[in-house]
Symmetry: C2
Subunit: 284 residues, 2 copies
């Protein structure tokens, strides 16, 4: 039974988890903890949480979900674990996994912690961004599952399966390395595309009439929250820098092909990359 | 009256135009011309065109739409204009406008030509990619409108308004310069993102389970047709190279900030670029 569920950080992810969990476990009480009193009040009004709570209440928790920026998670997690009972489980859902696993490696309550990363989201943030069914058919990367008490992981993973997540197991090093390519790089490429266009066109607002669905799709992630993404890039610095080096090298090579009028080369680059179709068909 | 409409190139754009025009002008006969007999047969089966035709039939045309790769358009347009009657209009819909306007500058039938670029599309191609309502609320850039006979432009622009296009007028130089930022750069950034990820992960197919909606959206344009895009980059070479230089410089600066642990700088870059939200809200 998971009666008392505490969500620390009632934003897009925490709020969406609250909505889905409440539908599957109508008997559960969803307690919300957030630095922002405004966000807590919004979450109450939107029926995302049942009541407000504080860290000192966590001894009553059956499940705690930590869904705050990854730098804050690393700082807060040990203090959350200090307060949890032997029967409570703490789950974090951040986009980096190495630092968070490292910080609790020797914690006496390590078996009461489960590290995971549900790969789901939108470019919006805050409780108003919470939506039902966000995790339907989405991959959830679970790290160091063997370090979590079996009964606790079983209860939690059953719940997360019920709200639609598909589990994949990976060590934190591999997670951080691959997610840099599959997610973090996309965000930077999109932010820098937005920056390049804004810098060039800021004095010519009419030009944005020329934005088509292609531009919108490619620049969508540039709407994302800097408060969430800055700590992710900081924690995953080495891997992200490596992806940027690869990306910049590929762009530079493409530019040099154009400069040398090697348009057969340009054609082949694009033809080869069309292979992404098969890959994406495989996943969706 | 536009009774006889010829569409040269029955792909995504030509086919979608055919579908919308037929709905607004049920009395019109849509004639299809295409290098690919397969595409012509598909277009007939899909009721996108009423009949097949050949270049020699164009003297009967009231309207000809040229929707083929931009290098082929520049080559074919003068020969199409040679065949057109005084009462026929030829429209091209390519993504570059300078070369096409240049090639017919001195053509005796220049007044029977209208250069335009409807900013609409998907990442798919061919007649099966044709969809109704593709042009609803989409910007159509019209170049050198003053060089087209008034009665012909009026008839054509009325028709294109009826299928939902919003006209914007611009000279070909400005079109090519700005579209490099608003469209061509997005395609290259997306292709190179796809390439970077495929190169890194090609031997680890499981990793693509980590692809979320963010990656899918940012890499979507990498599914686009190389046969269509290579000639666009070739014709707009100087402008596209300039956008790539700006983009690479911004990515490099971002990487250097990370290397120097300047995460306040990283935060501010993203915060400033969030301004794209207001811009995109303004357009959609």
């Amino acid at each position: 039974m998971m009666q008392n569920i505490y969500i620390i950080g009632i934003g897009l992810i925490g709020g969406s988890l609250a909505l889905d969990i409440k539908r599957k476990r109508p008997e559960a009480i969803i307690h919300g903890i957030d630095n922002s009193e405004d966000h807590l009040n919004q979450a109450l009004e939107l029926n995302i949480i049942d009541e407000k709570a504080a860290l000192d209440d966590l001894e009553k928790a059956d499940l705690v979900i930590l869904s705050i920026p990854v730098d804050a998670s690393v700082e807060l997690l040990p203090r959350v674990l200090d307060r949890i009972s032997d029967f409570g489980l703490v789950v974090d859902v951040g986009s980096t996994k190495l630092d968070i696993c490292e910080i609790v490696k020797e914690h006496p309550k390590r078996r009461n912690f489960l590290a995971m990363h549900p790969i789901a989201g939108t470019e919006f943030s805050g409780p108003k961004a919470a939506i039902p069914d966000l995790f339907q058919h989405k991959t959830n990367i679970v790290c160091e599952v063997e370090k979590t008490a079996f009964k606790l992981q079983e209860k939690a993973l059953n719940l997360f399966s019920e709200i639609g997540m598909r589990m994949r197991y990976m060590n934190p090093e591999s997670h951080d390395k691959h997610i840099a390519y599959m997610s973090h790089l996309s965000h930077i490429s999109s932010f820098m595309l937005g920056k390049t266009v804004i810098e060039k066109e800021k004095n010519e607002r009419d030009i944005f009439d020329m934005a088509g669905s292609g531009f919108e799709s490619t620049v969508r992630l540039a709407k994302s929250s800097p408060a969430m993404w800055t700590p992710i890039f900081k924690q995953n610095k080495e891997n992200v820098i490596e992806t940027l080096e690869d990306y910049i090298a590929n762009l530079t090579q493409f530019k040099e092909m154009m400069e040398k009028d090697d348009f057969d080369g340009v054609y082949n680059e694009m033809k080869d990359t069309n292979y992404i179709k098969q890959i994406l068909n495989g996943i969706s």
